[in-house]
């Protein structure tokens, strides 16, 4: 889960990192709240997840409360359908210097890695990295910069975050240091021990509004239970519906389809012996997309997923929707031969073209076969 600036700064404040006092206005705010005194010139910042907000015109200055309505209207227009959690108004500050400070996890060593650069701001280049111990001992950096970096390190562990970044950490004219922006990414697997996350804005990370089916899938996945893994569903601009199985295989299959000249209508991955009732529902969401010309059910040679149950669930979803476009299934593993026989009987009864490939047909060859079935 990626946090918008406002939510990230709440975590910064708890970690002892300086922030400016600001006010979060809702997305539909008409102007400055009457009960709050106007603190002076403001920066009005769209609370979207995208980076480079300044360059994209999603941050605007505002000198007076009277000007705010038109600033908000302009920002709303620029934000368009991009998911946005509101507008954060922060007093403008005189800046003496800007630093870049970040903390993340080094995937090779599993250690927390801190990065600091004296050239913070919009065009920050690669920053030097240090371990926590190196940072504690590095006297070449100003004390507040070191403190901010070490505060991010402890924030990662306390909040179960995987990445936290301040860019810029500004040294103000009065000598204080404040975080003018916040990027925080939380580990979804640790959500069970962080009830406070319910207060954070959960924006789609796709950078656009969810489609109707993506929205339906989100709602579905949130209630899908613990049997199997229902991964991400993302709509693409092709016409072949994909129901993929296996995290790694889903990537191989997408590549294979692209190399065969096919265009995916979606990415959808469900694996780990998913509950057939839930899989039928997930498949129904993906297959309901108008304009689907073919269906590819593809996965790796399953270790323990019941292929018969999995394929049965997808056929039921096709029956539910009376979808009769060509289907190619490429699955193997437990009960695969029964699944192949059932698919053949189903295809004959419905007069739906259906090919069942077991693992002796590669994912690549299966993709080529599907593409060959579709008229150009």
């Amino acid at each position: 889960m990626k946090l918008v600036e406002f939510d990230g700064k709440q975590l910064f404040r708890e970690a002892g990192i300086g922030i400016l006092p600001g006010v979060l206005l809702p997305l539909d705010a008409a102007g400055w709240p009457a009960e709050t005194p106007w603190p002076g010139r403001m920066m009005v910042k769209s609370q979207v997840l995208q980076g480079r907000r300044g360059k994209m015109g999603l941050i605007m200055p505002c000198a007076t409360p009277d000007a705010l309505a038109s600033v908000l209207a302009t920002l709303r227009e620029r934000v368009g359908s991009t998911p946005c959690a509101g507008f954060f108004c922060e007093p403008m500050a005189g800046i003496r210097a800007e630093w870049f400070v970040s903390a993340d996890i080094d995937r090779a060593s599993a250690d927390i890695r801190l990065s600091v650069s004296a050239a913070g701001g919009a065009d920050v280049a690669a920053a030097a990295t240090r371990s926590i111990q190196e940072m504690e001992q590095d006297v070449s950096l100003p004390v507040p910069v070191r403190q901010a970096a070490l505060a991010l390190a402890s924030l990662l562990e306390r909040a179960d975050a995987t990445h936290a970044e301040i860019n810029p950490l500004a040294e103000l004219e009065d000598g204080s240091f404040v975080a003018l922006d916040a990027k925080v990414e939380l580990d979804d697997a640790a959500g069970f021990r962080h009830p406070e996350r319910a207060a954070f804005a959960a924006l789609s990370p796709l950078g656009r509004a969810l489609t109707e089916r993506e929205q339906a899938y989100e709602t579905f996945a949130a209630s899908a239970g613990h049997r199997g893994t229902f991964g991400r569903y993302v709509e693409l601009d092709g016409d072949i519906a994909l129901i993929l199985s296996g995290g790694g295989a889903s990537i191989v299959a997408l590549d294979a389809l692209q190399a065969a000249g096919g265009r995916a209508a979606n990415y959808l991955e469900a694996s780990g012996n998913p509950d057939p009732v839930m899989l039928r529902e997930a498949a129904r969401i993906a297959l309901a997309r108008p304009g689907i010309r073919g269906v590819w059910v593809a996965g790796s040679f399953a270790n323990f997923t019941d292929i018969q149950a999995t394929c049965g669930a997808i056929r039921q979803a096709m029956d539910d929707l009376a979808l009769s476009v060509p289907v190619v299934i490429r699955r193997d593993g437990p009960n695969a031969q029964i699944a192949a026989d059932e698919a053949a009987a189903w295809a004959a009864a419905r007069a739906t073209p259906c090919t069942f490939h077991r693992a002796d047909t590669s994912l690549e060859a299966s993709a080529r076969h599907l593409v060959s079935l579709l008229p150009v």
């Binding site: 996890i105 295989a249 040679f301 270790n303 323990f304 002796d360």
Partner: protein
């Protein structure tokens, strides 16, 4: 560097979480592949039996009854995995395998540190398992009856993905490519045993003569190979898919929590070219990968 224990059909294995639905299923599948599951552990259920094996309340009690058992498989909910791993190492277990998915990454960091402090090995979490000759299997790797079709040989299959590890393993069986071992590290951002660790392991084993690695975008192995931190001497072939991720929103995980093409990352075509220049044959296509496995063996 981690030291891998010797495993064979006589190796006694414990299962933490054996009375749960997943624990029951995994132990029965391991038994079907010939693994000697001697006991299980579920707090509060000591004294029960599962498929003829006694259940203990703690790993320490199980170890008192089976002092030679130093391998434990963990199938407990994600929130309890860290405590189960710590309990295992504290009780003298030296090899811990974790099937469970969705374990918080900071817990995995702590588990790695615990394993290192005890000089033990942690495989997983989110690992579908480990399989080797002489016939021995942890988890589900290879399906119900893997040794019926596999041919013994010198290839080591190393993969982040459990499904693609099995896909490769079964393709080797069909093509009569002899396999020594097959290991899935799990697709999390941080693994108890990383692909880099796994390469160190197979480099040191005389019975491994070739290495086949399935690796996904974002895996730390790509960096360790390209920077020369590790320089495997045995023939190594790599399958690195993911070109299609370039048409999806970047910076998000796909399939596995650790499979991410970052916003500033180079294209996979460039990464493959750089690996090839280092002397590692690298392909996006699994069918080519299998052909190369045959060639290096």
């Amino acid at each position: 560097m981690i030291t891998w224990p010797h495993f064979d059909t006589t190796t006694p294995v414990l299962v933490q979480g054996i009375t749960g639905k997943e624990g029951l299923r995994m132990s029965s599948w391991m038994r079907a592949a010939g693994t000697r599951v001697v006991a299980g552990i579920t707090p509060g259920k000591g004294g029960q039996e599962v498929e003829g094996s006694p259940v203990f309340n703690t790993v320490r009690e199980a170890r008192e009854a089976f002092p030679n058992a130093v391998t434990s498989c963990i199938v407990v909910p994600g929130a309890h995995v860290r405590a189960a791993v710590e309990e295992a190492f504290a009780a003298g277990i030296t090899f811990v395998y974790v099937l469970t998915e969705h374990v918080p990454v900071h817990d995995v960091r702590a588990m790695r540190a615990t394993a290192a402090a005890h000089g033990g090995v942690l495989l997983g979490p989110s690992s579908v398992g480990y399989l080797q000759f002489p016939a021995f299997r942890l988890g589900y790797m290879g399906g119900m009856n893997p040794f019926a079709t596999l041919k013994e040989g010198g290839l080591a299959i190393l993969s982040g993905s459990g499904g693609m590890a099995n896909e490769t393993l079964m393709a080797c069986a069909r093509n009569q490519i002899g396999v020594r071992l097959c290991l899935a590290t799990g697709g999390d951002p941080v693994n108890g045993c990383s692909l880099t660790d796994a390469i160190h392991l197979v480099e040191s084993r005389a019975d491994v003569t070739g290495i086949a690695v399935f690796v996904e975008p974002g895996n730390a192995l790509l960096r360790t190979l390209l920077s020369g931190i590790i320089q495997p001497r045995k023939p190594l072939v790599i399958c690195l898919p993911g070109d299609a991720l370039e048409s999806l929103p970047r910076g998000l995980p796909y399939g596995h929590a650790g499979t991410v093409l970052g916003e500033e990352d180079p294209s996979l075509t460039e990464v493959r070219a750089a690996l090839t220049e280092k002397g590692y044959r690298t392909t996006a296509r699994h069918e080519t990968f299998i052909q190369w496995c045959r060639e290096i063996m």
